[in-house]
């Protein structure tokens, strides 16, 4: 192993997130409560600088840095870019909910640390680093879930933490098994090691390891925390924990399965396909008759993960799998954050009925909501449509025709509950007390996300060729 590749310059976006968090924490300890916005500005600056660094890094050839532990390739660049954009949006949509709060600094710092863990998940090319990244992406978000310390929040945080701890232990057990039978932790050597290892052990280890990642992305059967955490926390927190970890978890699963698991090993594509089918179907069925908007969105994110997992199931078997996954992730993040931003912008409206008459009293917000919800359905020309189109194509190409048909049926079913939210907005006159606006920043975030969802759908297709480079070995 050469020591030449331990180049911190390859990790500038990650270091910026870390630096922003540490500096923010120090700064926040000394700032009076009303001036903690400085920390937020610092975090936004770090994220913007990280985006610039990501763009610069993307022009250089792919490499593996720090021994064989961390890949800097298309997958990592895309993860960085999507997560950093998500951080910026999350910072914007949470301004009103957190500004002047006595733990505003903690909110920003926890967001940054969790985002850092998520990026590391995406880039990890070594089982040990993967698990470390899992912890770094989990612990800050547990704390974030209980950040406001209200009763429901504490309960949600407990549930989140307990599921995470349990599945995290499963994941480390899987790591141990795989590295034991495969004689290594780095993905490249592991692939050779696992090829000659007993198939049963590889299968058990892989399933155990995936359990942790499924928890991160909130997919069935590790989804039980999602509805409670989403409903029990403020919209800003819910938006973050249902959106950001998914990016890292899905990219990590894709990289792990494609790079570290030998092609003639366990039949993981089928396993992932079944999980995808279960996620989209159960998420949809559970969302049908929800009355709380945040709970509805929670189940909607579970079903969206199902569609995203379709691309993972087709990994290595369909040319479009990787661009489909990355594009859908970007589309999902923008659209889902947009929907949560609308919720954050109308903080008093907690149930579907509260949106009655919103079209009259808040027409612009309702348009943003319409774009985001039709976006989540996958209506062209929004971004998720391009994502779904490519994902469905990848699934069919990868031999999962049944999964594509199921996804289509689910998509139609999902129309029903998205419209249940959205249709009351056009009836009657809104009670203005419930539809009291939450503030300019959340509203601006909603509009920005809605616009981005459409622009990404219309012009984003040009970016697909940039996402096709296979992962670095």
């Amino acid at each position: 192993m050469n020591g030449m590749n331990e180049n911190p310059a390859a990790l500038i976006p990650e270091l910026l997130l870390l630096g922003g968090a540490v500096l923010g924490l120090l700064l926040g300890s000394w700032l009076p409560r009303q001036r903690q916005w400085v920390v937020r500005v610092l975090a936004a600056g770090a994220a913007l600088a990280g985006l610039v660094a990501t763009a610069a890094a993307a022009t250089r050839p792919d490499e593996i840095v720090f021994g064989t532990s961390y890949a800097v390739d298309t997958l990592t660049h895309a993860t960085r870019a999507v997560v950093l954009v998500a951080v910026l949006v999350a910072l914007a949509l949470s301004v009103e909910a957190t500004a002047g709060h006595r733990r505003e600094t903690e909110f920003v710092v926890l967001l940054q640390l969790g985002a850092l863990g998520t990026v590391l998940l995406g880039g990890a090319a070594d089982l040990l680093l993967l698990f470390a990244a899992f912890l770094l992406a989990s612990v800050p978000f547990y704390a974030l879930a209980g950040w406001d310390k209200r009763r429901l929040e504490v309960e949600a945080a407990m549930k989140y933490y307990l599921s995470g701890a349990f599945l995290g232990v499963t994941m480390i057990a899987g790591t141990a098994i795989l590295s034991g039978v495969g004689r290594g932790t780095a993905y490249g050597p592991l692939r050779d090691g696992l090829a000659v290892a007993p198939a049963a052990a590889v299968g058990v280890g892989l399933v155990a390891l995936l359990a942790g990642l499924l928890f991160k992305i909130g997919a069935v059967p590790a989804h039980f925390w999602v509805p409670d955490v989403t409903e029990g926390t403020p919209p800003a927190v819910a938006a973050i924990v249902t959106t950001i970890p998914k990016v890292g978890g899905l990219v990590a699963a894709y990289r792990l399965l494609l790079v570290a698991i030998p092609a003639d090993g366990p039949d993981w594509p089928l396993l992932i396909a079944v999980l995808a089918a279960a996620s989209m179907t159960l998420g949809n069925l559970a969302a049908f008759f929800q009355t709380s908007v945040q709970r509805l969105l929670a189940y909607s994110t579970i079903s969206q993960v199902g569609y995203l997992l379709m691309a993972v199931a087709a990994a290595g078997r369909a040319e479009l799998a990787q661009p489909a996954l990355l594009f859908y992730l970007a589309a999902y993040v923008v659209t889902n954050l947009g929907a949560f931003a609308v919720v954050a912008a109308l903080p008093r409206a907690r149930t579907l009925d509260d949106y009655r008459g919103a079209a009259r009293s808040r027409p612009a917000l309702v348009v943003a909501l319409a774009v985001c919800l039709f976006g989540l359905i996958g209506t062209p020309p929004t971004a998720v449509f391009v994502g779904k189109l490519t994902v469905f194509t990848a699934a069919l190409d990868g031999g999962f025709a049944w999964l594509a048909v199921l996804a289509i049926v689910n998509t139609v079913a999902s129309v029903f509950y998205y419209l249940r939210w959205f249709a009351p907005a056009f009836r009657g006159d809104g009670t203005d007390a419930v539809l009291e606006p939450g503030g300019r920043w959340a509203t601006a975030a909603a509009h920005g996300c809605a616009a981005a969802a459409v622009l990404l759908g219309v012009f984003g297709g040009a970016a697909l060729p940039l996402l096709t480079e296979p992962p670095a070995l």
């Binding site: 062209p380 189109l389 069919l396 139609v412 297709g461």
Partner: protein
């Protein structure tokens, strides 16, 4: 030029959205009218410049998502241009009719303008994904129109049913498109390239499934029996202009899809299953006519006659795929007839729905039993309705006759039984329209006593007259001087028949 025609309404809609809500309604409707006039002028210019035998023209192609073989590709030929022209005319008529609309005019007009862009875009799209985009958006905008301007609570239920049903159809369509994409080497969504490549020549299960997916998607929209159940409630609850556009333009998207995509891209499979299409067509014809006969609700009745008329189109395109027993001339006749029927149905049914809207405006009900003897009070309404009814049942001298005559002549040699059965559909529609005319306009005067109804029932207002008469006049012109239309359609139909027969 085509892009301007397509996106002009959307651009104007964007400008109108920026205007304050307090702007007088006349500004919005006026802008819509101006857009229709401008679009019409452009379509006429394209028509004048179209070389009928020249295949696809005025093409424009810009890469959109190159990785997935998707491009913004538009163009017209003798099949799509008449439909685009019919679309513009019908939207223009609706704009005139909408001069009397008072409810939330700003949103109403912007929705219609968006719908106009989507409809025109669909008819000129030469890329499957572009086609799908417009197909899907037409559902979204129509949903809002029915839910927002329909008749109360039931309209929302009808709109939801419409949305779910047709959305399922559109996703089946998408599945078929993806299967086509994967079958083509190199992978592409471009219709022209797919036609040239004929990726699924030789048929097989894969090709059959592809046609099934596309067929279901288009049949829901057409709608063909048994996938038609969304249509009657959607029509009954929609506002008059919405019904006119839904029947006149949106239904054509289904049948146009057969002609533009299913037939030329999957010729072998189309020939293999042409009999199925013919059977579905005949069932739609007979079933639509019989159920229409049993209706007491005027608008439901017209809705079912739409199913009947779309059945003729399916009969025509199905017959075009049956090689055995028919010569090329017959198949060409059937195809030409099918396309003519699409144009003709758009004009005539559009007029019928606008007339039904007038009736509802006066008495707040579509129930035919509530009305009687209107001819004495409202001669123009009665006359207009009589002309529209006769045109719709296929009387010579109107466009419907030209279309149906050609379909029957073309289909008779290849599917004699089916054709004879379909002709009975004409008899039934003739009967039901005569019964409707008799109930509504003859006999002693009776009008519904809804509260707030202006008692002396008013005849057509000038704006209503202009819009309805314009549509009927055009249907008559086509009926009397069919060469104007057929000269454009026939060469394109010939090309299509050759593509199907290869």
């Amino acid at each position: 030029v085509l892009s301007v025609i397509v996106f002009l309404p959307a651009a104007v809609a964007a400008v109108l959205l920026a205007l304050p809500r307090a702007t007088p309604p006349a500004v919005f409707v006026g802008a819509w009218l101006a857009v229709c006039v401008a679009d019409l002028a452009l379509v006429v210019a394209v028509w004048a410049g179209l070389e009928p035998t020249g295949g696809l023209q005025f093409e424009q192609r810009v890469p959109w998502i190159p990785t997935a073989g998707i491009s913004y590709h538009v163009g017209v030929d003798g099949i799509s241009l008449p439909l685009a022209a019919m679309t513009v005319v019908l939207f223009g008529a609706c704009a005139v009719f909408a001069l009397r609309e008072t409810r939330r005019v700003k949103a109403y007009v912007t929705l219609f303008l968006a719908l106009q862009t989507v409809s025109l875009g669909l008819f000129v799209a030469l890329d499957l994904i572009l086609f799908f985009l417009f197909f899907d958006l037409s559902i979204v905008f129509m949903y809002f129109l029915i839910a927002g301007w329909g008749h109360g609570e039931r309209a929302r239920a009808a709109a939801l049913k419409f949305f779910l049903y047709t959305f399922l159809g559109s996703l089946a369509l998408l599945l078929g498109f993806i299967l086509l994409y994967l079958a083509a080497v190199p992978h592409t969504f471009d219709i022209v390239e797919l036609i040239a490549a004929d990726p699924l020549a030789g048929g097989g299960a894969y090709a059959g499934l592809t046609l099934l997916a596309i067929g279901i998607g288009l049949a829901v929209k057409t709608p063909a029996v048994p996938l038609h159940t969304w249509l009657p409630p959607a029509h009954t609850e929609a506002p008059a202009t919405g019904s006119a556009i839904l029947a006149g333009v949106l239904l054509k998207m289904g049948t146009y899809g057969f002609v533009r995509i299913a037939m030329p891209v999957l010729p072998d499979t189309w020939r293999q299953y042409a009999l199925v299409v013919v059977v579905v067509g005949v069932v739609s014809v007979v079933y639509g006519a019989l159920v229409a006969l049993a209706q007491t609700d005027l608008k439901r009745m017209i809705a079912y006659t739409s199913i009947n008329h779309m059945g003729y189109v399916l009969l025509g395109v199905g017959a075009a795929g049956m090689l055995a027993g028919g010569d090329e001339q017959a198949r060409r006749l059937a195809t030409t007839g099918a396309v003519t029927q699409m144009v003709s149905h758009g004009l005539i049914t559009g007029a019928l729905f606008l007339l039904a809207g007038v009736l509802y405006d006066r008495g707040r009900t579509y129930d035919m039993a509530a009305w009687s003897g209107l001819a004495a009070r409202t001669p123009v309404l009665a006359g207009g309705f009589a002309v529209a009814a006769f045109a719709s049942l296929g009387l010579p001298g109107f466009s419907g006759f030209i279309a149906e005559f050609q379909i029957f002549t073309g289909a008779l040699p290849v599917a004699p039984v089916a054709t004879v059965l379909a002709v009975t559909g004409i008899l039934v529609t003739a009967a039901l329209f005569l019964v409707a005319l008799q109930r509504l306009f003859l006999g002693p005067l009776r009008v519904p006593d809804a509260p707030g109804t202006p008692r002396p029932i008013a005849d057509l207002h000038p704006s209503e007259t202009v819009s309805i008469v314009a549509l009927l006049a055009l249907a008559t012109v086509i009926g009397l001087l069919p060469r104007l239309l057929l000269d454009v359609i026939e060469p394109a139909a010939r090309t299509l028949v050759e593509l199907v027969a290869r």
